[in-house]
Symmetry: C2
Subunit: 503 residues, 2 copies
C-alpha cells in the first residue's frame, strides 16, 4: 500500500464512520420528535447496532494499521491538514478505547445503563442511598480509567480533557475563584435589592401555535438557514448537526411561559449556526462538528444572552413578540419587559437558573467532582456537601436530594468532567463578545436595526468555519489574543445587573 | 462451527442487514417529508454507502458460507421455519446478484442512472427518440440477465418472478384475456351512456388543514394504529414499513380535488395495515414485509375500492366529510356523491385512471414488455404500438409521447415485469373480498355501522400476519381455495358500473 493510497483509504474509512453517525443522528432526532412509540424498541436496537459498528471501526486492526502507517507521515508534514487532524482525532479515540481492558469496559457499560435506571428511581423516591453504591462504583471505574489513560498534574484533568481539550484544573480553579468572588456578593446584593422587576405578565397564556410562528420568525431574523435545517417540537430541546446542510433545531412550547420557547430557540439557534457554517471541506471527516462542548455552548450562550437578552435586540423585536401574543404585553413598556426577562433569583435547579447564577451551579459540581477524583470527598457525603455549598454560594438550601444532588442525569451515565464546559461556555462567550466589539463597535446598533448578518459572518470567520480543526484554547487565543479570562464575563454581569437592579 | 451456532450467526448477520435497511428506510422517508434541501446531497451519499453495505453483505463470502452450511439442514427439515425461509430469500438474492458478471452489473447501474435522467428530458421535450437508444440498451441488458438467471417457459417469466414469485405469462395471459373481453365493452357502454354522474362539486375548494384532519379521522376509523405510525405530507404519497411498530403514511393535499388525499390516504392505509400487522416473530428477518408487490397492492386496493368507494362506507362517513368541508356537499345527496366518486372515464394517464379502466393501462404495458423480451416487438416501434393499443382498449389516442409511452418512470430504471403486479392487485383484492364474504356476510352492514375491526382482523389472520413467509399464490390459495381468477373482479365491476351508469 503506497502512501497516497493509504491516505485515501483512511479517509474513505473515516467517511464510512461519519456516514453511520449521520444515520444514527437522524434516528435520534426522529425518536425525539415524533417516532411512533411502538417502533422505539426496535429502532433503539438499530441505533445500538450501528453504534457498535462505529465503535468497532474506531478500534479495529484496520484503524490501528492506518494510525501506524500514517502517523509518521503526519509528523513529517507529508499529509494535508484535514487528514492529519482527522488522524489525530482517530488516534486519540483509539487509545482511549483500547487502553481499557475489554472485559472491564463491558462491565462498565452494563453498570452505566443500570445506574441510569437506578438514578431515576432514586430521584423519584428522593432516596440518595439507593443511588450511592452505583455512584461509588462509577467513580471507582473512572478512577481506574484515569490510571489506564494516564494523567498530567491533577488526575481530574484526564476527565476534563475529554470535553474541553487543553483546559486543566489549574486553569479552571483560577477563573472559577475569580467568578465566585464577584458573583456571590452580586447575588446577595440583588437578593437585598428593593428594585425587583415586575414579572407577573411572563406567565400569561401564549398559544403554542403563535409561539411556533414567533420562533420561526426569530430564527429567520437571527440568520438561521431554513434551507439547511428545520424547527420541530420536543420535550428536551436540542440542536443536531447531521451535516452542515442539515442542522435541525427543536424547541418546547410552554403556554404559560413563552420564555421557554423563545430563549430555548435562540439558544439552539446559536448551536445550529455553528454547525451550519462549518467549512464544507470537513464533511465526511471527524472534524465536521463543533470543537468542544464549551465552545459550542459559547455560541448558544452568545445568542441567548448577548443577543437574545440584550435591550437593543428587543428594541427591534418587541413589536414582533406583541403581534404574536394575545395582549399580555399591551401595558408593559420595553424597559419593564427587558428587566423581567433578565430577572435573577437564586434557585435550586441548574437548568432553570438565570444567566447570573448559572455558573455558581456549575462551580458546585466542579468542586465536588474534583474532590471525588482526588480522594478528598467521598460519595456518601455528597448530599451534605451539596446542600452546604448551595447555602454558601446561592443562599438557599435544598429541602430534598431530588432537588439537590440527584437533580442531574450526568453522573448516573458516568459523565464526569462534563459540567465545567457549561460555565466555560459563558466565559468564552464574554471573551468572544469583547473581541467582536473591536471589529463591530456598533454591535448594539446592528441589533436595534435587526441587522445580524455581520455578527453571524464574524463568528463564522473566527469560530464556526474551523469545526474541530482547531482546539478550544487555540480558537480562544486566535480570536481574543488571550487565554481563558473570566474578567470579561464578570464585567458584563456586574454592569448589566447593577443597572437592572439599580445597585 | 456447529449447526446451532451457525444458525444463530446467520440470523444475527441477517438482522444486521435489516437494521441497515431500517436506517435507510427512515432516511428515505425523511428525504421525502421535509429534509432540508441543502442536506440532500450528503444524505444521498450516506444512503448509497449503507445500501452498498447491504448489497455487499448479501453477496459476501460469509453469506455464501451460511448458504452452503445451512441449506442441507433446511432441506432435511432441521431448521425452524423462520430461518429456513429467510435462508431461501437470501439464497435467491445471492444467486440473482452473483450470476451477473460484476463488470456488467456496474455498467448497468451507470446506464440506469443515466437513462432515468435522459427519460426525464425526453418526457419534458416530448421526444421519444432521445430515450430510444437507452431503452434499447436497458432491454438488451435485461435480456442477457435473463440468460444468466435462466428461465422456465417464457423468458419474460424470469422478470415477472422478481415481483410476483410464481406468477407466469401463462397465468397472466389467461386472466388478462378474460378481463379485457369484459372490460373493453363495458367501458364502451359507459362512454355511450346518458346517465353520467354530476361531478362539478368534486373540484371545489377544500382547505388543506381540513383535509389533513379528515384524513387523520378516516385513518382512525379504518383501524390504522397511530401508536405504530404517523401521517405526513409529501408530493408522491407512499407508505413505508420500517418495522411493524413504525409504519408511516404520507399523503398529498390538492385543495381543488379532495379525492387525492382522501382516496390516497385510504389506499396507503391499506398498505400500512399490512405492514403493521405482520407477526413480530419475523422482525429482524427478510420475511418482515409484504410478500409481493401484487399482494401489497391487493391490500391497498381492497381498502381504497372495496371499502373506500363503497356506498355503505359513505353512508357512515359522508357526514364526517361534510363537517370538514366548506359546504360544497350541502346540496349533494349521498347517492350523487357516491356516483361522482365512482365516475369512470377513459384517460391517457395510468396514475389518474379509475378503478374500471386501470387494468387496461396495465395490460397494454404487459403486452409490450412480453413482446420486447420475446423478440416480437422492437423498441423503435413502441410509440406507434402504444398509441394503437390505447385506441383499441380505451378508445382514445395520445396526442403526444409524453402522455403516451413516455409517461411512466419504470422502464427508465430498468424495471420490467413490475407493471403486471398492479393489475394482479385488483384481481387478488376481488378474490379476497369474495372469500371474506363467506366469513363476514354482513360486510356492508359493518361498513354502514363503521365497525371495521372484523375486516382488519380477518385480513390480519388470513394475509398480514404471514409477511413474506408465504408466497403470493400460496396466500391466495389458502385464503380463497383457488388460483388466480379474474372472474370475481369482472363480476364486481360489471355489477357496480351497470348500476351506476344504469346500463
Amino acid at each position: 500500500m503506497n502512501d497516497i493510497k493509504a491516505e485515501k483509504q483512511f479517509l474513505d474509512y473515516v467517511k464510512k464512520m461519519t456516514s453511520y453517525n449521520e444515520a444514527i443522528g437522524l434516528m435520534y432526532w426522529d425518536l425525539r420528535t415524533g417516532a411512533p412509540k411502538k417502533g422505539v424498541e426496535q429502532r433503539s436496537e438499530v441505533i445500538g447496532m450501528l453504534s457498535t459498528e462505529v465503535f468497532k471501526m474506531s478500534t479495529s486492526q484496520e484503524m490501528a494499521a492506518y494510525i501506524s502507517k500514517l502517523t509518521p507521515l503526519a509528523d513529517s508534514g507529508d499529509l494535508c491538514e484535514v487528514t492529519s487532524k482527522t488522524l489525530s482525532e482517530c488516534k486519540k479515540e483509539y487509545d482511549r478505547n483500547k487502553k481499557i481492558p475489554q472485559d472491564e469496559y463491558k462491565e462498565y457499560v452494563i453498570l452505566q445503563s443500570k445506574a441510569e435506571s437506578i438514578w431515576e428511581d432514586a430521584k423519584a423516591e428522593d432516596n440518595f442511598s439507593l443511588f450511592q453504591p452505583y455512584l461509588e462504583k462509577l467513580v471507582e471505574y473512572n478512577k481506574r480509567f484515569i490510571e489506564y489513560w494516564g494523567y498530567e498534574g491533577n488526575k481530574y484533568n484526564t476527565l476534563l480533557d475529554m470535553y474541553e481539550p487543553g483546559v486543566t484544573v489549574e486553569i479552571i480553579d483560577k477563573v472559577f475563584d475569580q467568578l465566585r468572588e464577584s458573583i456571590v456578593p452580586l447575588v446577595q446584593q440583588i437578593a437585598e435589592s428593593n428594585n425587583k422587576p415586575n414579572t407577573s405578565f411572563l406567565s400569561q397564556y401564549f398559544p403554542k401555535e403563535a409561539q411556533r410562528k414567533l420562533s420561526l420568525e426569530l430564527l429567520e431574523r437571527l440568520g438561521y438557514n431554513f434551507d439547511a435545517g428545520r424547527l420541530d417540537e420536543t420535550v428536551h430541546p436540542f440542536a443536531t448537526g447531521l451535516n452542515p446542510g442539515d442542522v435541525r433545531i427543536t424547541t418546547n412550547y410552554d403556554e404559560h411561559d413563552f420564555r421557554t420557547a423563545v430563549f430555548g430557540t435562540i439558544h439552539e439557534c446559536g448551536h445550529a449556526l455553528y454547525e451550519q457554517n462549518i467549512s464544507d471541506k470537513f464533511i465526511g471527516t471527524l472534524l465536521c462538528t463543533g470543537t468542544s462542548m464549551g465552545i459550542h455552548e459559547s455560541q448558544s450562550l452568545f445568542y441567548e444572552n448577548f443577543v437574545g437578552r440584550n435591550f437593543s435586540f428587543w428594541k427591534k423585536n418587541y413589536e414582533l413578540l406583541k403581534e404574536f401574543s394575545t395582549g399580555q404585553f399591551d401595558h408593559v413598556s420595553l424597559n419593564e419587559f427587558y428587566q423581567a426577562i433578565n430577572e435573577s433569583k437564586p434557585s435550586l435547579i441548574r437548568i432553570e437558573a438565570d444567566e447570573l447564577t448559572y455558573t455558581l451551579h456549575i462551580m458546585i459540581r466542579y468542586e465536588i467532582e474534583k474532590g471525588l477524583f482526588n480522594g478528598e470527598i467521598e460519595v456518601k457525603d455528597l448530599p451534605e456537601i451539596w446542600n452546604k455549598k448551595y447555602e454558601d454560594y446561592l443562599g438557599i438550601r435544598p429541602e430534598s436530594d431530588a432537588k439537590g444532588v440527584l437533580q442531574d442525569v450526568h453522573w448516573s451515565g458516568g459523565s464526569f468532567g462534563y459540567f465545567p464546559s457549561y460555565a466555560l461556555g459563558y466565559i468564552y462567550a464574554a471573551q468572544i463578545k469583547q473581541a467582536m466589539l473591536k471589529d463591530i463597535p456598533n454591535f448594539d446598533v446592528l441589533l436595534e436595526e435587526g441587522d445580524l448578518l455581520p455578527v453571524k459572518q464574524w463568528l463564522t470567520e473566527k469560530v464556526h468555519q474551523f469545526g474541530k480543526s482547531k482546539k478550544p484554547l487555540e480558537i480562544l487565543q486566535d480570536v481574543t489574543g488571550e487565554g481563558l479570562n473570566a474578567q470579561h464575563l464578570i464585567t458584563y454581569l456586574q454592569e448589566k445587573y447593577k443597572n437592572i437592579y439599580k445597585l
